[in-house]
């Protein structure tokens, strides 16, 4: 292989006439793929309060609280649970969604989650 000066020059000149490799974010956005791990969203109707997500969360970003407990005429006990979720601690690993036995948690595709106020990152699902 012989050395030649400016070996990359033809490639560089060719690229002068190509469109840029980047997009003008935030005016132009590339979508995220189907399985993207955004923030967890919880459906309180499905939650049974087993605390598996709380136990497995590596960054302790979840809390499950019992909201109400009612007994109907047939003696069936219905419990409702809420989830407090701290987005500022979340590492988006989706372990909570994976471990949930009732599939009450799923990850959304939202990626612009930043906020100026830490309080705005505390979310409650009930």
């Amino acid at each position: 292989m012989s050395l030649r000066l400016g070996a990359m020059l033809p490639e560089v000149l060719r690229h002068l006439f190509k469109k840029p490799a980047t997009v003008q974010y935030p005016f132009q956005k590339i979508g995220v793929p189907k399985g993207f791990r955004g923030k967890p969203v919880m459906d309180p109707n499905l939650c049974i309060g087993c605390q598996m997500c709380v136990r497995d969360c590596p960054s302790e970003a979840l809390e499950i609280h019992k909201e109400s407990e009612s007994t109907d005429e047939a003696g069936k006990v219905t419990k409702r649970f809420s989830m407090t979720f701290y987005l500022d601690r979340c590492s988006h690993c989706a372990q909570c969604a994976e471990v949930c036995p009732k599939k009450a948690i799923h990850m959304d595709t939202e990626f612009e989650d930043a906020a100026f106020d830490r309080g705005a990152l505390k979310l409650t699902y009930k």
């Binding site: 050395l3 030649r4 560089v12 490799a21 791990r37 497995d56 960054s59 994976e98």
Partner: protein, 396 residues
């Protein structure tokens, strides 16, 4: 001969992460080099002892941003050994695939960084543009671009569908067509060759003696690769590949080895994607791990990555020790720097692809003159801190 000590770090504009170098220089020549680690201690190992195995998996993934998947793989396969479970074949193949895709992204990143360190920013721009292709594949498969979170005890967390396989193959074909061009540029562009040929020499016997790892040692002609020598995941069975070595032992050889390893990784990825066995991707893993100890290793992009795990029968490990490949490469780097020029320091250091925060574990303060070592507990450290500030007239 009069020498002058040139301190670099712990905080220095040229360093990306904190560490402390002392270069003994005679004019422009580096006579001797010394290194002090321990400025980036994050307490990950101790943290692991206080969390469950599942939580540790994600914490150890964050030992490094570039080789996140390798740390997860090593920990997962170590714990699997303790649990006595064997992941299904499809799971192991996907495990290998993630490892190779990660190697591709890391080597492309490194090629760019090497170009940047020697002032060849055009090279950096093109390799990083192409790196986006593999990043997109990783994001498509795992749902994230950096911390993929793919490995778990008993296999992998996500399966591949036909559409993903097709897209991944297209991406790899594009990269495969592109990479020989970089290899060609690396070997024929005279300004680049003049800058990196003969710089940071590491002869084969020194590479063995100083226990260098990964592409650094392979560029000195040592054909060691954990994938071949102690096969893990799917490598032992059916995945064919060749170890890339070069006899040069200089920075140019390290560029060539990494560029050729890229081609090998593309072949491995294509093989896995085309021959993915059918079946399950994971088996169920218990929460508690039986008592025992294990050493687990894998070939990271930068070399051999080792985890030592000791379990006590509970759901939390008793001890986790992480040996990142950069630690193995430091003695060799100090050897390479000796006799070189001050201007060569950045590229010689960059050539091992260092990752300082991966490397930093517990540091023991030793007084070299007195030959004493000192270990402080939390309370002692607190008292020392208060005393330190009080002596300097700061009221606490």
């Amino acid at each position: 001969m009069s020498t002058f000590i040139l301190p670099v770090g712990p905080q220095h504009p040229a360093l990306k992460e904190p560490t402390s170098f002392r270069f003994m220089v005679d004019g422009e020549t580096v006579v001797d080099a010394d290194l002090r680690l321990g400025y980036n201690h994050r307490g990950i190992e101790k943290g692991c002892e206080e969390r469950t195995y599942i939580q540790d998996l994600y914490m150890l993934e964050r030992v490094c941003g570039i080789c996140s998947n390798v740390h997860m793989t090593v920990f997962a396969q170590g714990v699997e050994k303790l649990m006595g479970i064997e992941p299904p074949k499809r799971g192991l193949f996907i495990r290998c695939l993630m490892g190779e895709l990660e190697r591709v992204h890391s080597h492309l990143l490194w090629l760019g960084v090497a170009g940047h360190e020697v002032g060849f920013d055009t090279f950096f721009m093109y390799t990083w543009r192409d790196r986006e292709i593999v990043e997109d594949i990783l994001e498509m498969i795992s749902g994230n671009r950096v911390n993929y979170g793919m490995q778990t005890f008993g296999g992998v967390r996500r399966d591949l569908d036909e559409m993903q396989i097709k897209k991944a193959l297209e991406g790899i074909a594009a990269l495969k067509a592109r990479t020989p061009y970089y290899l060609n540029i690396g070997a024929t562009e005279p300004t680049l060759v003049a800058r990196i040929a003969g710089v940071g020499k590491l002869p084969k016997e020194k590479a063995l003696e100083l226990n260098a790892a990964g592409p650094t040692t392979r560029a000195s002609g040592v054909d060691f690769d954990v994938r071949k020598d102690d096969p893990y995941a799917g490598f032992g069975e059916h995945i064919p590949f060749n170890i890339v070595t070069d006899e040069g032992g200089d920075v140019l050889a390290r560029v060539v080895v990494r560029a050729k390893e890229l081609m090998e990784s593309y072949n491995i990825c294509e093989f896995i994607l085309k021959n993915l066995p059918a079946g399950e991707i994971r088996v169920k893993a218990p929460r508690k791990v039986p008592e025992g100890e294990v050493v687990s290793r894998a070939e990271a992009q930068r070399g051999e990555c080792i985890h030592y795990i000791r379990s006590n029968g509970s759901d939390k490990p008793d001890r986790v020790k992480v040996r990142a490949p950069t630690l193995a490469n430091w003695p060799a780097t100090l050897y390479m720097l000796r006799g070189g020029y001050v201007a060569d320091i950045p590229i010689v250091m960059a050539a091992i692809d260092p990752c300082l925060s991966c490397t930093d574990r517990m540091a023991v303060i030793s007084d070299v003159r007195k030959g004493t070592e000192q270990v402080m507990d939390w309370e002692g450290l607190r008292r020392y801190g208060i005393e330190f500030h009080r002596k300097r007239g700061i009221k606490l």
